[in-house]
Symmetry: C2
Subunit: 526 residues, 2 copies
C-alpha cells in the first residue's frame, strides 16, 4: 500500500514555496484588486458527518453489492480484458467484482498525491485536508452583462475565462475548457484551447477523455510546456483527467480509453459519476450515493489493475431533479447531504474526493448565490479536496459567465480566509485582556496600540462586496453586485499579463499545434 508520507496537517514547507514564481506572478497581475496570495488551503474543520458508522456501512455494503451482484458495463474490450485478468467476473461487457478485490485495489491508491504544472510553484496536492478550487469547466454557452443573453461559446470568451482563471489566486487549477469554443472545429479545438490554456495560465490542467488523439495531444503539449522528458513526465502527475460514468452503471469507450492512457503514463485520475437521484439513480439519496460510489470505485479498480499506486480520486455529482420538469437541480439540501455522505465514504476508502460549486440559476442573481453558497459550503463540510466549477457556472453547467466567475471568487476567497487558523487564535495576545482593561467602560478600541498593531491584516477585505452605507452606495451610482462584477472582470482582462514562458517553449508548442493541425487533428466520428 503506497501512502504519501507528507502530513496534510503540516503544510508549512509546501506553503513557503509559494513565495517564488507563483508569488511574483500573483503580485505582477494583481493591480485591479488586492487578493490574498496563492496558497493551498487546509480545511481545519471536522467534516459534517450525517451518517453514523452503521450508515457508512450500509452505503458501503450497497456499493459492494452493486459491484458484486449487478456489475458495471465497461464498453471497452481492453478494459474488460484487464479486469478479467485482475480477477473480475465478466459477462459480455458487464464486469462484476467482489468486495475483497475492490478493497484490495482501493488499498493501492495513494491517499495523497500531487499535480505539478509547468510552473512548479503552482503544484497542488490532492488529499489530506487540502481543499483546492477550480474554474468552471465545459459549459457550451456563455453569458455576460454586455451580451445580456446566452450564446454558444467562442475561443475569445474561453480566453477571457482563462485569464480570470489565471488571475485569481484563489483558483488553483484550470480544469477543462471554461467554455466550449464552438467556433473552433472539433478536430482541432483541443489543440487551440490547450495552447491558450498553457500560455495564458500556469496552473494544473486537465485532458478531456474524448478520444485517443486528443488525450495523447494534450499530454504531449503539457510535456512540452513543462520541458519534461517522457521519463520526467511519467514520474508523477503533471496533469489529470476527469471522467464521468454513463449512469446507470456504465463506462463508455472514450472515457475509459483516456482513463487508461493517463493511468499508463502515471497522470492524475478523477472519476465523477453524474447520478441524478430519480433519473439516472434511485430517488433516495443514499441509493444514488451508493450507485455513484460503485461506478467510481469500478474505475479505480481498473486504474489500479493497470498501474498499482495510480493517482486516483473519486468525485460526487449526485443531485436531485426538479419534481415538476425532471430538470437537474443543484445546490439543494439533498445535494448538500449527498456531498457530505460521499465525503464520509471517500474517507472510509482513503481516497481523495472531488465536489463542485453548482447552481441551476440562469443569471448571476440571488438564486445563483444561495445555490452556489450551498454547494461550496457542502464541499467544505464534506472534506472535499478538489472543488470543480467553483467559479463561473450557471444554468446547471450549460452557461459560463465572467460576472458569475468574479462573484464566486469573492465567496471562494472568503471560504479560504475562513480556514485560516489566525481567526480562532486564543493566545493571550488574542484574548487581549490588557487592551480590554485599557479601554475600560467608556472608550473604544480604534485607537489602542493592540488594534493599531493588528488592524491592517486583522480582517478579510473583500474585493467585490460593497460595505458603504446606503447613501454613500447610492451616491456612487447604486451599483448592484452583478454590475460591480462586470466592471471587475473587464478591468482584469484589459490589464491581463500572461505568466512567463520561454519563447522557445512557446514556439515548440506552436509548432506542435501547426503540425497536428496539418495532420488533420483528431477524428470527429466518435
Amino acid at each position: 500500500m503506497q501512502r504519501d508520507a507528507q502530513s496534510a496537517q503540516d503544510p508549512a514547507p509546501r506553503r513557503r514555496r509559494g513565495g517564488g514564481r507563483a508569488g511574483n506572478a500573483a503580485r505582477r497581475g494583481s493591480a485591479v484588486i488586492d487578493q490574498p496570495p496563492w496558497r493551498l488551503p487546509v480545511n481545519p474543520d471536522r467534516p459534517v458527518e450525517p451518517l453514523d458508522a452503521d450508515g457508512v456501512q450500509a452505503i458501503h455494503d450497497g456499493a459492494m453489492r452493486i459491484l458484486e451482484e449487478i456489475g458495471i458495463a465497461f464498453l471497452h474490450p481492453e478494459a474488460v480484458d484487464i479486469l478479467r485478468a485482475a480477477g473480475c467476473e465478466v459477462d459480455g461487457d458487464v464486469v462484476r467484482m467482489d468486495r475483497a478485490l475492490v478493497m484490495e485495489m482501493v488499498a493501492k491508491c495513494p491517499a495523497q498525491w500531487d499535480i505539478t504544472p509547468r510552473n512548479p510553484d503552482r503544484r497542488i496536492t490532492m488529499g489530506g485536508r487540502y481543499i483546492l478550487f477550480g474554474n468552471v469547466s465545459s459549459p457550451p454557452n456563455y453569458w455576460d452583462l454586455d451580451l445580456g443573453r446566452k450564446m454558444p461559446g467562442t475561443r475569445e470568451q474561453c480566453r477571457t475565462l482563462l485569464k480570470l482563471t489565471q488571475y485569481f489566486d484563489c483558483i488553483h487549477f484550470a480544469g477543462g475548457y471554461p467554455v466550449e469554443p464552438v467556433d473552433l472545429h472539433p478536430s482541432v479545438r483541443h489543440l487551440d484551447v490547450l495552447y491558450d490554456k498553457l500560455t495564458l495560465t500556469d496552473k494544473a490542467m486537465h485532458a478531456y477523455s474524448l478520444g485517443a488523439e486528443r488525450v495523447d495531444d494534450v499530454m504531449e503539449m503539457v510535456r512540452i510546456a513543462g520541458q519534461y522528458s517522457d521519463e520526467e513526465f511519467e514520474s508523477g502527475p503533471k496533469m489529470y483527467t476527469n471522467i464521468n460514468s454513463t449512469s446507470p452503471l456504465k463506462h463508455d469507450f472514450p472515457m475509459l480509453d483516456g482513463w487508461m492512457r493517463l493511468a499508463r503514463r502515471n497522470q492524475g485520475l478523477v472519476v465523477t459519476p453524474f447520478t441524478l437521484a430519480g433519473a439516472m439513480a434511485p430517488v433516495t439519496m443514499a441509493g444514488a450515493v451508493a450507485q455513484s460510489l460503485a461506478e467510481a470505485l469500478s474505475a479505480v479498480v481498473l486504474a489500479q489493475a493497470i498501474r498499482p499506486g495510480a493517482c486516483t480520486a473519486i468525485g460526487t455529482f449526485t443531485s436531485n431533479v426538479d419534481m415538476k420538469s425532471g430538470a437537474p437541480a443543484f445546490g439543494t439540501p439533498e445535494y448538500m447531504r449527498a456531498t457530505q455522505m460521499t465525503g464520509q465514504l471517500a474517507r472510509f476508502y482513503g481516497l481523495p474526493m472531488r465536489a463542485s460549486g453548482v447552481c441551476a440559476a440562469n443569471v448571476p442573481d440571488g438564486q445563483a448565490m444561495w445555490e452556489t453558497s450551498n454547494s461550496l459550503w457542502s464541499a467544505v463540510q464534506a472534506g472535499a479536496n478538489m472543488v470543480y466549477h467553483a467559479a463561473g457556472w450557471l444554468e446547471g453547467g450549460l452557461i459560463a459567465s465572467p460576472e458569475k466567475f468574479v462573484m464566486d471568487c469573492e465567496i471562494v476567497q472568503q471560504i479560504q480566509r475562513y480556514m485560516e487558523p489566525a481567526l480562532c487564535d486564543t493566545t493571550p495576545d488574542a484574548i487581549a485582556l490588557d487592551a480590554i482593561r485599557e479601554v475600560g467602560h467608556q472608550g473604544h478600541f480604534f485607537g489602542t496600540q493592540h488594534t493599531q498593531e493588528r488592524y491592517a491584516s486583522a480582517f478579510y477585505q473583500p474585493f467585490l462586496s460593497d460595505w458603504k452605507n446606503y447613501e454613500a452606495w447610492e451616491a456612487a451610482g447604486a451599483v448592484w453586485t452583478v454590475e460591480r462584477a462586470h466592471r471587475v472582470w473587464k478591468e482584469i482582462v484589459a490589464s491581463f499579463e500572461p505568466p512567463a514562458m520561454d519563447v522557445a517553449v512557446r514556439e515548440e508548442l506552436e509548432a506542435f499545434v501547426s503540425r497536428r493541425k496539418a495532420e488533420g487533428g483528431a477524428p470527429t466520428d466518435f
Copy 2:
C-alpha cells in the same frame, strides 16, 4: 439546578402538536406558495468547533478575568444593589464578580425552556438541538422594489412585514418590530405595533426594554391576547426581551430595567452584546468573543439573582469592521468563526444561544445572499437555538425589505429541509438495491415503482428558485430573483388572512390601547 427534562433529541411529541391550530392556520394561508408545515427544526449536525478544549478554556478564562478584574458597569442602582447582595464587589456602578459566583449563577439557568404565545401550537423551545428562526427586527428604514429607494419605516410597511412573518411557517417567532414605524409617535408606537403584532400574528414575540411603561404595556397586552391570569402569565415565558449591552462592558438603565421586569415575571431573557471587533471590542476575534461573553454572563447573573432558574439565553453579535471606513461588516469569515466560537462557549455554560442572519449589502443582490448565507450557515454550524433577523435584513440592519424577506425564507426553508433525517436515510429501501438491479445498465429510474412511490415528497421544492432552463426562463419573461420575490410578497400580502382571534379578545386589546393612549402612552424623555 433546574433542567428541562424533555429531550431535544426526541421532539416527536411536540411535533405532533403542530397538526392543530397552527397546522390549520398554515394551510389556510398558504395559497400563494406551497410550504413545508410549521415545525420546530432539530439540528442533527455536530457543531463546527474551531476551538480545542484549551481554546475554550482560554476564552472562558478571559471572560472570567474581565468579570473579576475589570468588571461591568451597571447603570441601574437597583441592579447594582441586587448584585452586591448576591456577593459581587461594587465600586460605583462597576460590578466585579468572581468566577465561582458566576458559575454558581449560570448553573441555575435552565438549559432548555419554552415560550408559549397566544396560540399554544406556536410554542417554541429554546435550547437543546432546536433551531428557531425569526424575522428581521428594528431597522429604521424600508426598501422595496416599487419604491426603489430607502425611506423611514411606516406602520403600513411594518404591517406588511408582520404579514410575511405570520405567513411563512419557517419563521418561528416575531421578534421586535420588523421595521420601525416612525410615522407613529414614540410615546404610543409600542401600543399600535403590539396591537398589530398580536392581531396579525400568533407567534412568540418580544418587548423592547426601552422604559418601564413600554415593557409593562407589552406584557399586559400579551397577557390579554392569551387570556392569561397574572398567575398563568408568570408560570412560564409567554414572550421575551432581548437586551444589548452598551459595549464595552456596560449595561444601560432602560435595558436593565426591562430585563429585571421580565425576570420578575418569569418571561424569556436574551442578552446579546454587540461587540464589533476593532471598535467596541478587541480587534482579535477571541478577545471580542470573551468580552461579549463577560457582558452577557453578567446580565445572566443579575437575572438568576432576581429569580433563580430564570429563563435566560446568550446571544452573539460579534463581527468585524470595514478596515477602510470603520463601518460594521456582516456575514464575513470572521463573523462566522466568532459565531461558532460563541456556540462552543454557550454549550460550555449550558445556555441556549442566539445568533443572527445578517448582511452589509444595501439591496437584495448577490452580495446580500452570500453574506446572509454565510451568517445563516454559521448559526447552524454554531448550534444556535434562536436565529434573529433570519429574513428581511439589509444594510447592516438599517433597512428592512420584503423582497429580501422572501429570498431569505427560501434559504431558511432549505436549511430546515437540510436538517430532516430522511435525507440521510440508509435503510435498505433507501439504498434501493432492487431498483438499481431493475434498471440495470440501460434504463432510467423515472418510471420505476421505487421512484413513483417516493417521487412527490422525495425532494425539497423551492417556491422562489427558478429551475427552468434558460430558454424557458427567457420565454417566461427572464425574471431575476429579486423581481420574483417582489411578486411573491405582493401576492402574499394581498391574500393575507390574519390568524383567528376571538372578537372579545380583540376588543379588550383595543380598549387597552385606547386607554393607554388617553393616558399619554410612555414618556419619551429616556
